[in-house]
Amino acid sequence: MQRILVLGGGVGGTLAANLIARKLRRQIARGEAVVTVVDLTGHHTYQPGFMYIAMGGERAKNLERPERRLLDKEVELVVGQIERIDAAGRLVELADGMRLPYDHLVLATGSRILPELIEHFDTEAHHFYTAEAAARLRAALDDFKGGKLVIGIAGMPYKCPPAPLEVAFLVESELRERGLRDKTELHFCSPIGRVFTIETVSEMATPYFEQKGIEVHTFFNVETIDAEHKTVNSLEGEELPYDLLILVPPHKGAQVVIDAGLAPPSGWLPTDRHTLQVKHLAAPNTPDEQIERYPNVYALGDATDLPLSKAGSTAHFEAPIVAERIAAAVLGREPHAKEGSYTGKVMCFFEIGDGKGTLLQFDYEHPPRPPKPNQLWHLGKIVFNKTYWLTVPRGRV
């Protein structure tokens, strides 16, 4: 019996489990293999929708489905909190004491937000990384009558890299429609020397900031929030007053993979860029080819340390590689050369405001060349969001 254990029921975990079950249908039917997903809540959340709770009238209840309904009927689901991962002993323990031995492990444990790392974040800053926070931001925008609105990024990497830029563009459109634009100063703060990490995307987006009159502050690494004087202050010494503050909170990987000795304090799992196998923690200057890989432990999605977007799309394109490699191991064959090697493929939509969007498509070797924004890509994003439940988790696209 080959036991495949998938930790996390997000995009990556759900899709990987379904694809593995599809490849091993006969072995599962004969009792030679079992695929189990462990998820904390048993509810699958479509996180890219959170931004639209704040910006587009989306409702939290539309963004959640029971995980059981998204999983292939051959996949087992265990709802529980992961307490311990023992990679040497090939065992996972849950908080309720359940012990899950495995032969192949998929770490789809995602990322978590840590607003508490910045004092006064909770009371002063808004964000859109949970349904509740996005609803609070919506209410704050409804109450906003003009003033200084600051949008920034308080830590890298973070989920959905285009999101803060999209929020800046969408808020600007909204304020114009509500007749508040000339009463509002809009500021956008980026921790790096341009508005977006990838140069080609930055080149595409920068003229929109100029055109929309959004003042860009580069090299603005949020250090403190002064709640009394209502300023957000950067490590670089800049001080920006705000009436409404929207910040991407700091992110880290799951605590359980740090505690397991699989990830450094950042929580991002060292991951082979092509095989997606988890690498042993190594001294900083160890050449990559000398770092040992866990032969039976894989990571995907937000959980990895790969230099790619932390986005559902990344997990979506990584899951087939993990599924192919695990299925090959179970079946005692070599993984398919192409299907078993990740190229860094990512594809995501990017809202520009005023009902227009563009598409970012790239891999390790090819930076994105976003097409001129138009209404079609905006509609593409809306349709994708609505049809997600029928397509991505089930491996239909």
Partner: protein, 82 residues
Amino acid sequence: MTDTATPPITRTVDARGSFCPGPLMELIRAIREGQVGDVIAVWSADRGSKTDIPKWVEKAGHRFVGVFDRDGYDEIVVEKLR
């Protein structure tokens, strides 16, 4: 610039496996954790670091000591001033 111009390095950040903006973020972390007077060497194989890091150092009010060609990577040295 030659090695003789480099003050003694107090911390080395190996960001060679990291891509833009990784090396800059690693330097920022080291600056946050460090003391005034620390001399930090960042090793980066990402070409963008050579331009990004000096610009950040200037804005953040630290001292850019120099960039040195090493075997397959750059060593970018920064002194924490505040």
